[in-house]
């Protein structure tokens, strides 16, 4: 199966690869997937405490090209959003943007899950109750 140009572009020039200091209170870290499943995604957000806006986002992903592209795209979309807006990023929007075929939908789900996990980590650190999300349907 051929990859879409957007997937190839994110794969070749991934945006925001890296690591934020997870010990900082304004950094939320989401680590999802499992090595046995062949995909692990770590997504981090750094929140401006005054405004509640995500000022930086970084990722590292072990997975296929679509997973790498999904996380790269997610970090781009996260920057500039408020924490509450962040959780509205839906995996299907990623699917559409990247033109992912059905077998690769779960890679985008992973990105959505990583965002939610990062937001919850941030909330927990800052004394806010964790949000409950409906179990995503994967695979």
């Amino acid at each position: 199966m051929a990859y879409s140009e957007k997937v190839i572009d994110h794969y070749q020039n991934p945006k925001n690869v890296g690591t934020l200091d997870k010990s900082k209170a304004n950094v939320g870290t989401g680590l999802v997937g499992a090595p046995e499943c062949g995909d692990v995604m770590r997504l981090q957000i750094e929140v401006d405490e005054a405004t509640g806006v995500i000022k930086d986002a970084k990722f590292k992903t072990f997975g296929c090209g679509s997973a790498i592209a999904s996380s790269s795209l997610a970090t781009e979309w996260l920057k500039g959003k408020s924490v509450d807006e962040a959780i509205t990023i839906d995996n299907m929007t990623i699917v559409e943007e990247l033109n992912l075929p059905p077998v690769k939908i779960h890679c985008s789900v992973l990105a959505e899950d990583a965002i939610k996990a990062a937001v919850n980590d941030y909330r927990k650190k800052n004394g806010l109750p964790e949000l409950k999300f409906e179990e995503s349907v994967i695979h």
Binding site: P35, E36, G38, V40, F62, G63, C64, A67, I68
Partner: protein, 405 residues
Amino acid sequence: MLNFPIYLDHNATTPCDPRVVEAMIPYFTNSFGNAASRNHPFGWQAEEAVDYAREQVAKLIGADPKEIIFTSGATEGDNLGIKGVFEMYASKGNHIITCNIEHKAVLDTCKHIEKEGGEVTYLKVKENGLVDLAELEAAIKPTTILIAIMYANNEIGTINPIREISAIAKKHGVLVFTDAVQAVGKIPVDVNKDGIDLMAFTAHKMYGPKGVGALYVRRKNPRVKVTAQIDGGGHERGMRSGTLNVPGIVGFGKACEICMNEMEEETKRVSALRDKLQNELLKVEESYLNGDKEHKLPHVTNISFKYVEGEGLMMGFNKNIAVSSGSACTSASLEPSYVLKALGLGDDLAHSSLRFGLGRFTTEEQIDYTIEQVTNTVNKLREMSPLWEMYKEGIDMNSIEWAHH
């Protein structure tokens, strides 16, 4: 000058050798006869061509031409060999011994047999991918009629001790079937020296055309019979009906002849390239060879690059280099390779594997380019891999609670 893309997936299929194509061409047009037409020159010509090819094929494996049954490929050969014995020898027993890293054509055939009331033992291979002879012998019982163990594995290239296996089988009066798709034409295979009773192989893995193969069925010591799985005009001595694929068979014969004449030289050349590729790639930190290092086909190597995922890895160079991976991300089922898992590799290593299959037309320049591309891509992806980061920081990944799904 390098021409792209470079093909390093010769265990999946091989290109037709131009000499094979040349031999086939007349049998599409001028000499198009049906080999079963006994009463005119068109039929005679076709029959003659098939007879000649049958000799070429038989010679490569040390068989008698009468022991060759042409099929549509090895999937059919596996089905006919195993189901054919199961049905033919039903009065002797219903137990078959095979192993857990066989090709699906064998495994699914065995599953089918279980549904038909047969009993199948799936031996677990050792960590190096080879069958344990003691376990094999211990699995034999009075009802055992067949041992079906592959000659060489298609994913990791390991070669089973077929002679020892057949010696054990003989001792217990059990027949030996082997799927020799990956071995025939690449390494010396001799049905008599190796003690093989039935053997499936296929033309498209040895520079012949797709859609044609053979089942070897022993005629002496012992005389083996199989129940036909395709009924009809009684071709191939009643064991496989259907008008013969004359051009395909001619090509198959030619492919066998070329392999026979050139195997020694080719093995030397290709295995030197394989060794170079393998040695260089194993220099990459945290890379692991899958399958036995010694008992292995000359043209294949399977390596896991820990902490990077196979499909993501291939994406780095698959416009220019064609290889395959055992990662789940490459399969429709989203399951990693059952062969690699059977070696006891953690799933993470199975996801990180690449199989390189070299061939007759592989050049050193191609190998050098591949070494460079793969190494660079592994390094690039590790910079992006959270697992690599954890590894480098000395974090025990088993201590993490992964969200399995």
